[in-house]
Symmetry: D2
Subunit: 340 residues, 4 copies
């Protein structure tokens, strides 16, 4: 099939190339002209110099995949596309848009006869070769029509062991893509996916932190080990119940630099982790692990905050305790004070 | 090699069989004589009718693998073995013993010249065929001597993609077993492994709960989806960053019964989840995700507790609020009251 | 001064009476005519039979205090008032409105020349006698003009010990009311106040739960106490650092029924607890305690949820564990199994 | 009565003085001789230069109050006293000892006929004038005999409003001291008290942090307020449901320095916060708020930890994300990236 791709960063660029490998024809655009010609080249595609030019180079009914950062730039691009495209054309938002924005957009665009599809896309820098896991929202008719696009981008069944008893379920899930429901549902599922990702990452982070500190000179010598984090990550990849792709990534990072000194530890978060918590709150579903994971990221990016200073202040007001910059604190459970 | 196996439950029985498949000779014992003859048969091994009998059927230096529930029964068995075995013999505890007990035992046994090895063993009911991931503590000499046993039980390299840059690390980790350090370190690493497992499980649990509730009739109709949990679990196995063995298990369970009505949701916990938190506290390492996961299991096993009743009581004392058995509560954010 | 009061529930009724005790003149309305005549009587005020009637009985510039549940009914009432009131009049929303709604309303009403004041009101059923703590948002001019109203409702300085060094701060805070800033700021501060309230309540709940379980027959006899919860709550009121009004309420409830068997423990939550978390997320501020408190309430209102069943399911798929309805679970740290 | 006091720090010194004000006779000891003479003077008491000297200056049956930091120094002091004191004498541990140590000590000392009493003491630097809230464990006979000591140290009923329906309960609780049960129960209740204190403190800390950040220049201007933290703390003291002694302390601290720039925010923790969590885990009681509070203190004392670096590492391995020292991160929900 023929498809336009807007936004040729890590994700959009690789998607273009992967589609071309499956004999789809891509017309590509990015605000960086150098990137356009590079990707057009790699993807044996057609370069374009703007939204109008891109749309003009597609045959009706057109399909345009927008692969931009969620937020204003995606919103503006879709807004502009909606004035250029025609009835029967389709916009795909492959970014990490808030699902309620999808619902709104789908409604607005349907008034112009334009189809709107939201695709949550997981796969990172590995997707080019491994394929992308896709969670798709939108009308059944449009999703079915675009099936060859999704099938090309998806990993396919590969050698992953089959789940038993799936005969009665949607076979596309085994190929790595799924029509989740109406507009917004694809990004909703992707949002929760990312929330879970935060939780799993934090579980590993805490576990490795506990093991790393077991090597620490702060502990009494007879309570100390000399554990090798890289070997532990590796052995867990082999038959253990905590094996996962994320653990593979840990093993890679630790084999490269076991102290992780090349990382700041100031961890960014994206909208999806936050929206997942908001969804949980809307539904009155407790989500302590997903929330703790988000908060750990918040805290990782600040120094001692106002709340912590207030804790120090209360301690001083109550018991005359003066908090100190003091590494002894770390393992010392306050034996030097009578308080409370 | 020749080895005695004590405790022929799901784990010990399968370990016996897997060892025999790799041409090791097993002498087996369980307090259930029927199980002894069954496993002796499956493992082409030698049955025994007690610890003395088992020890008597082994050539010095003997190796005895104890595969019993952690706690009193393991402690008693090792105590008894220590009076039967001789200098140069080895006891392996393959259960989920608290690592400080290992340190104590190793010291006590070393006074008799008996070697003590702790092996954290992951693999569950799948280990027979897939092999077991093993985290091993004890003296280098003994661990090296028993290498053929561990190599037989481990999964081996298989087709799992290699981690780059591991040339400088222990090659056994890639086979699925690791000498972690002195006595106790094997169970310490396994303990943290299980802590992480709790966190990962809870991350999936919360995510699927949020998605399941998005289908709920309690939400306004235009905010509701009709998501298929079995398909979502399946699609995430294919190229998504949350793919893992635990997710494979979710996919299996959901394909079998998408409502999960065959499960109570009253989730047991083992000592290792608890000890992981205690280790974190000893080291002053924050572990909110691992702790939340443990607490979620605690709460899953009780009805409304005293603390919750105290919350109701304070609300009544303060604002005259009477808590009701009321499903409307669930999504109703208290619009019927002016409080605070 | 003269003021109209709409909504004569626990809060609005008592506010009317307290205002009348300070020689303010109230015109009152509630959709329940019986309540109107009762409160008009208690407050020596003027009854009215509708918004128009109420407004008609006030002299310009009019002030109308709306004391209704947050949400649609408040929104509708203010909408209707905005068509009846005139330039220079003032609407006060004393309920628990979301502060962003205040900001919007203030802007809309200012176009008609109507002033909008948001008042977060704390005090519960005790406010009639003790007075209400008020957090006020809106224009300085209007807040200053209505000072006699706020001063009458507030507790006043009383015998509470003075904070040192307050000479440079707003003296009204010591009277129990505060002009926090522009529209929305009053409800914002009240919202956070309620978030903190949840956290404090949950801290007590957990502590008493831990003490109550220390009396439990599930513990080994030599680890068991026979603590008296009512006496403990009482003694802490006397010189301990955890003394507070909420603790007074605990002491009352426990003296009345130490088992708390008259409470369900299914704890409602209002919008403010939820919005506090959303504010924290918007600001990237970690709020683990406030969030845990909200989640504990969510969980208190459901039985075993889908997520918990998924945990059971994973355990079964992995290790063949069958979860049981089993009180032994509660304190049994899984000694009957080898898992992981 | 006559009593020996060992340890004349903030707590022990003030206790000596308060006892003397109620006409008890104190014999005092501290390893710092200067402190001994100072406190002997203030308390009109008898100085001593060692444990033997102190014991020699008391009449049988003797009572010795040990007021030292929990841990080795208390343990050693009590050990030494046990060799000096005689049958019928009593040791009081007024520090923050782990309650299981009390149980052990009481048993050991009872074999010598020495009574052991554990007293959890709350009141901080304010106790001298306000009195101390005391939670007492030990035999009824001894506790009753020492009643004049406890009555002198306790705050007494004062002007605190009475709890209704307390006729059937222990009247000492209203005086501010309570015989909780056998040895260990006093420190157990004090331990939970401190756990609750952590939770309440953290609730305030989070709330004020959320309000403080609402003033932040990082937020869009129309979402920003200019809230005064000192005034808010003050107004909440007046009739609000979050009023408490801890809030009084917040108000003091904020009136003195509203930016709290004089505090580091690196918050120490004592053993009791940790032991409370361990007790919760032993009892299988969920305690998310108390645990989160402890973890917040842990995190406040470290920079970016290994776990956080592992999060960064996973993000880089997966999506090529490079974490930056970047204040924009703080409120930017990652709009610059397509990830997951």
């Amino acid at each position: 099939m023929q498809i336009g791709i807007i936004g040729l960063g890590r994700m959009g660029g690789n998607i273009s190339v992967r589609l071309s490998r499956h004999d789809h024809k891509v017309v590509v655009y990015d605000r960086d002209a150098g990137v356009v010609s590079k990707i057009a080249d790699s993807a044996h595609g057609t370069p374009s110099n703007g939204l109008k030019d891109l749309v003009g180079k597609l045959d009706a009914p057109r399909t345009v995949w927008v692969m931009l950062p969620a937020g204003k730039i995606t919103e503006d691009t879709i807004g502009e596309l909606s004035t250029i495209l025609e009835k029967g054309d389709t916009i795909i938002d492959g970014g990490n848009t808030f699902y309620k924005d999808d619902i709104r957009r789908a409604k607005e665009l349907s008034e112009k006869g334009i189809n709107y599809i939201d695709v949550g896309t997981s796969g990172g820098v590995h997707g080019l070769d491994r394929g992308y896991c896709m969670m798709i929202g939108g009308s059944k008719e449009t999703v079915d029509r675009l099936d060859p696009i999704f099938a090309a981008l998806a990993p396919g069944k590969g050698e992953i062991e089959e789940t038993k008893g799936r005969e009665k379920f949607d076979p596309r899930a085994e190929q790595g893509y799924l029509h989740c429901g109406p507009a917004g549902s694809g990004h909703f599922v992707k949002m929760v996916h990312n929330g879970i990702e935060y939780g799993m990452m934090q579980a590993y982070a805490e576990g490795f932190d506990i093991m790393r500190n077991k090597n620490s000179g702060d502990l009494p010598e007879d309570q100390r080990f000399d554990l090798n984090m890289a070997d532990i990550a590796e052995v867990w990849r082999r038959g253990s119940v905590v094996s996962s792709w994320l653990l593979d990534l840990c093993a890679n990072a630790l084999a490269q630099n076991i102290t992780l000194s090349n990382y700041t530890g100031e961890v960014a978060d994206s909208g999806e982790g936050r929206w997942t918590i908001e969804a949980a709150i809307e539904e009155a579903v407790p989500a302590p692990v997903l929330t703790s994971s988000l908060f750990a990221r918040f805290r990782s990016r600040s120094g001692n905050n106002y709340g912590e200073k207030l804790l120090s202040a209360m301690r001083f007001q109550f018991g005359g305790h003066v908090e100190q910059h003091d590494v002894e604190h770390k393992h010392g459970a306050g034996v030097s004070e009578v308080k409370g």
